[in-house]
Amino acid sequence: MSTTEYTTYMTDKIGPLPFCPGCGHHMLIKALDKALVKLQLDPMKVVVVTDIGCIGLSDRYFITNAFHGLHGRAITYACGLKLARPDLTVIALKGDGGCGIGGTHLLNVARRNIGITLIVANNFNYGMTGGQHSVTTPTGGVTSTTPWGNVEGPMDLCGTAVAAGAAWVYRSTVFDKELPDFIAQAIEQPGFAMLDIWELCTAYYSPRNKIKKKELYDLIESYGFQLGLLVNKPRPEYRVHYRDAYEAGKSVIKRKPTIDKKYSNNVGKQTGIVIAGSAGQKIKSTATLFAEASIFSGLDATQKDDYPITVMTGHSLAEIIVSPERIDYTAIDSPDYFIVISEDGLKRARPRIEKLPETCTLYAEESLELPETKAKIVRLPLNETAKKVGRLSIAVVALAAVLAETGLFPIEAFETAISTFQKAKIAEINVKAAEAGVELVST
């Protein structure tokens, strides 16, 4: 820690501040400097973050760290710095223009309560690009893009931040004598603190709309806005809350066991298996268990799924490849085994079923009306069996039946995968379902 006493946090190394004569930014930057002097923070531990807009020219005039980013995104960089290094003091400076383009970041930093300080230099227009209207331009205000007066309503930045849950919100003008003290208070807040500071743009907005100090206060009064500290409701800062939540919840983290070869197999070549059913029939997770069982049997395996973005409705289809060698091509152009267990699955897979070659065996729930196909058809009472062993185990029944009939690898491997990767209670049901599946083809 430095023992230097800082009388200013500004540097004159690159000359005087670059703002237009009379611009409110001069006063705002001076107030921030006074606040920093008051707090005597180590400049190495302070970051001034800005983005595009006249106020964004100011970061490099401080002796602190400086981060100057894309238009409207200062809050995101400030949050990134604070999340990465909670020990840093992070102060973001933005204009009203930046609050428009980056409005969502304002809502979200307030809601998350990330411990940065946001100072908005609010002068009702875009100074840097030639005085266009912004989200805070008063209705009727003349700007280069509202030549006949602004027909849009102004956004209440403080009200917006408050609605989003900001912990500390202050509204004032650059003429406020107490501004340095309140900036210092804001910086000392552990959570998110925002100051909405109204000022004059002497290049564009003030001359065009004949607005000076008195008119600025009149405008505030006409809105019925309060000045001063509007909200002061501290709550845990994001990173503190994040650590606490993790510490409280981390016990649920589990490692998945690995798969060692335990069984032999009878798979001589790359073999493609497709299973088509309905969402909610555990098609994907059962296909994974089947693939894991093949790995227990010394095979290489891949799995791809096809399902709609909704859950528990429509089709669910899984493609499994097992192979004694490394699998290169992961698509199944010509399946060796095709399993269809429901109407949804049939509907989705119909075009493929119609094109199945004679080398393929199609295992189908017996109640389904199948299209013409060259595949060898084996009908199985899958629904009926699943009714007995458990509705959610229909895919286990089907894949166990296929396994028993084809002898690709031992049914024990499937049962091992089930008991290794599923919770004991579910595994118990599924091992029974697998046995029931084997029964279907052995009788």
Binding site: M44, K45, G69, L81, T258, A291, Q303, I309
Partner: protein, 374 residues
Amino acid sequence: MGREFLEGNEAIARGAMKAKCDFFAGYPITPASSILHYMLELVPQIGGTAIQAEDEIASMGFCIAAAMAGRRVLTATSGPGISLYSENVGLAIMGETPMVIVNIQRQGPATGSATKGAEGDIQFTRWVTSGGLPIIALSPATVGEAYELTYRAFNLAEQYRTPVFVLANKETGVTKESVDLDAIKLPPLIERKRAVPGKEYLPHYFNKLTEVPPISNFGGNHIARFTTSTHDKTAYLTTNPAIIQEMIDHYTAKIDEAADDMALVKKDLEEGAETLIVSYGIISRSAAVAVKDVRSRGGEISSLVIQTLWPVPKMALTEAMKGVKKVIVPEMNMGQYLLEIERLAPPGVKVIGVNKMNTSLVSPREILQKGGLL
């Protein structure tokens, strides 16, 4: 460890953790969302922070700033998300920010098919931001490579102080494969070169154009500065054309001139073969099957699989194309890397694109057919 049955997205997350990633920000998007899920669970376990941001722009903003504050940073999205990352990718290049960006490509343009694969973002990645400076992009073909190349992406990001893309595909991201991650050999971990404490710090200091400036993290041993604006070595704004050109030459040279050093390719070249298949990503596996098929019929054929898509591994490509009459370039797009091959192919060499963008893989058969190998 032992074998596991994993999707590529999980391997990417595990590769990042192996590379000591301690910061993640991302926004949900199919088919990349599971990387966000894995990272949200894994990163706090080592004391880091992982956060779901309000959008892709914020994800990049969080990441760039965290990287400049010393974190090892990952973000992940899909093509539409990269569109929103674009401006901030430029910022990361401009500020020489080490970070890794994963793109699990899906069928585009626009929303396209969220759950379907494609590799339509190859040239988009190369020219991802305004200004058009070089970037690094790695393309995994398997779940194992997703792990390895994500790890290597961190090394490249730190070594060259630049954003590095892992340009994967839904077909590698959410396809499960059996893999033993611990059996994969990885190079030693590389950390960014740090500026010497006690000495003056220039955030973009270099002597030779190719030199990568040492970094001082925000909150570290120096006052740090970072800017989106055209700047000199001190990170102060400049309008001096000579300095501007020097900085642009530096950003360009540090990547382009290292292209052959960082090149990762898999050569399977056959002496005297007149046909070469150049492939990358998931389609390199279809190419492997096609190559086996040709050879099983007594034919001669060479294959070059490219993992470092950008910068183009010129030397490896030039060598592989020596003496061949035909180069076949299969892609899950309408012919993007083909442009690079056409650019580098010696005169008289026929370059054939095998292109498909209908959400299904380019099959070995299509390569054989369109490549005239049947």
